[in-house]
Amino acid sequence: MREITLSQAVNEALAEEMRRDPTTFIIGEDVAEAGTPFKILSGLVEEFGTSRVVDTPIAEPGFMGLAVGAAMTGTRPIVDLMFGDFIFLIMDQLCNQAAKTHYMSGGKMSAPLVLRTNLGATRRSAAQHSQSLHALVAHIPGLKVALPSSAYEAKGLLKTAIRDDNPVVIFEDKLMYQDKAPVPEEEFLIPFGEANIKRDGTDVTLIGTSSMVQVCEKAADLLAAEGISAEVIDPRTIVPLDEATLLASARKTSRVIVVDEGHQSFGVTAEIASRINEKAFYHLDAPALRMGAMDVPVPFSPALEDITVPTPEGVADTARKLMSGEMIDAA
């Protein structure tokens, strides 16, 4: 199969869906001629024109609010939020308005929009351009949350998101934009709520989201060399969450590590670990463990930044401890 970058995958998904549905449009800062600072959208304005690839002023709350109203009245906005950190600016429009429109209207109105943004540290961009804030939106009922882990998922999940009648937030890993992966030429969609078992294993389950799927796979490689068989699962969407697949694996391996790039405390790992502990407790040899990013603002200095996020070595290390029954903490 041909290989394309995550950036190209996003571009293709947008182009295909915009061809398919004339009510879709892209809105955000420098999305048109510049194609975003990450150059993800190159070529789209040439094909779809400035009425459907809309450059905005630097007014995130404004264009997010505009997208909500547009979605409520018959279009399908695809909002481009340049950095995931800016989600703090649009929380009101996203969480008080978009997320609640369908419910508050008793099902009469809806806001079918997609918010495309990103996550991920270690890009030397410091505390306001490096956050992974997906846990925040996952906490708000009414929003779906997708976390593609490669070009393949980036394309399939984005296409699904655009066709979904609910507000969907999709976080791309900005460090992965240039990473290539096999992506079929033919059209495909990835349904929401279906986890992907990246690798079968029997000893320990590594659940990784977004950027952390690769980290888990590398950890699994390290473990395999030592004869430890790790199963690696990518939930792909955290709302909805494919609990069944995660639980089946937990019941099979009896040991689980959840890895996510958001801050560990009050984050995604807590929810996933809790569900596994709750529903597979008697199958577990040890508690489901969590590895999130450190609970510190992301530091600029490379010397510090690199140690704030989970690494393959760190995950493998935790897995080894789980295997050897070394869970002193829990005793």
Partner: protein, 332 residues
């Protein structure tokens, strides 16, 4: 009051009727609150009827409006029915939002009312987006964004006015300046000039007497027509007054505004009284005929209240419905 301009006296009578319907609706809502029959609390539109009616009478049914926490007036003016409205206020299944929204989220999609909003200024983006849709899809719908003087303090307004101006969107920002935001006088929270703020973005802005339904309607007709043909956006500041407290529970309000002031607005500038005298003076309707209209509306409201009080609450199984469009029960 302006001289008669509409050729059709039906238009005048509909405006009168709609203003009385709003006032009557609010009187009943207030009663429901005072008699502890309504859950929560609510913000009365009484006194501001000419604003909603003057503007909405210039709109078609597919034109859109966004409303505020003080939203019953807009809802009635855009064509809603009493029964579904009272049901909504009481949290009943037959309410416009199946009881899930209540007073602060009442909406009526069938008439283009995209909903009240409990976040001050929260609907400014929505209104601008509705206008964006009209432009993108070429529907020719115009959107009116209602908001209060207090909402002009929200930064969102300037963000969306900028975009509306740059892209010439068919949206009219209608600022209902009733002199107060909650318990504070407008001049204490708004520096400079509200009109100038819109003009600074290159938006044509007008001030109008919000107690004169004909003046409001006249201006609205003109601006809506121009917005429809791509000449928007526009900004209107409508000078008006709310008769009740900020919400139904705001009874002792001497500390922030005087009774004399309230009395003056009610007695000397009431939009319904003024319009009624004018209708009679112009010979468009007799006082008796208008009194009959009032009585009919009172009866309609009483029936609707009665109906709503006896209507049933949504079944508890509805609690996790409508979280997502494609999942019947989100928690099942």
């Amino acid at each position: 009051m302006s001289p008669a301009k509409q050729t059709n006296s039906e238009d005048y009578l509909r405006m009168y009727r709609q203003m009385v319907r709003i006032r009557t609706f609010e009187d009943n809502a207030n009663q429901l609150y005072l008699s502890a029959k309504m859950p929560g609390l609510t913000h009365m539109y009484s006194g501001e009827e000419a604003v909603a009616v003057g503007i909405c009478e210039a709109l078609t049914v597919t034109d859109k409006i966004t409303s505020t926490h003080r939203g019953h007036g807009h809802c009635v003016a855009k064509g809603a029915d009493f029964k579904e409205m009272f049901c909504e206020l009481l949290g009943k299944e037959e309410g416009y939002c199946r009881g899930k929204g209540g007073s602060m989220h009442i909406a009526d999609q069938s008439n283009g009312n995209l909903g009240a909003n409990a976040i001050v200024g929260g609907s400014m983006g929505i209104a601008t987006g509705a206008a964006f849709t009209a432009k993108l899809l070429g529907t020719e719908d115009v959107t009116v964004c209602f908001f209060g003087d207090g909402a002009t303090a929200q930064g969102l307004m300037y963000e969306v006015m900028n975009m509306a101006a740059l892209w010439r969107l068919p949206v009219i920002y209608a600022c209902e300046n009733n002199g107060y935001s909650e318990y504070t006088r407008t001049d204490e929270i708004a520096a400079g000039s509200i009109l100038a703020r819109a003009e600074a973005f290159g938006i044509e802005a007008h001030q109008v007497d919000g107690q004169d339904v004909l003046a409001v309607n006249d201006l609205a007709q003109k601006l809506v027509a121009r917005a429809r043909t791509g000449d928007g956006p526009f900004f209107i500041e409508l000078m008006t007054y709310r008769y009740h407290g900020h919400h139904v529970g705001d009874i002792n309000r001497d500390y922030y505004r005087s009774r004399a002031e309230e009395k003056d607005w009610k007695e000397n500038r009431d939009p319904i009284i003024r319009f009624r005298s004018w209708l009679v003076a112009e010979g468009i309707a007799s006082d008796d005929a208008l009194e009959a209209v009032n009585a009919e509306i009172r009866a309609e409201a009483a029936d609707a209240v009665d109906y709503a009080l006896n209507a049933k609450y949504p079944d508890v199984s509805e609690v996790d419905m409508h979280v997502f469009t494609d999942v019947r029960h989100a928690l099942a």
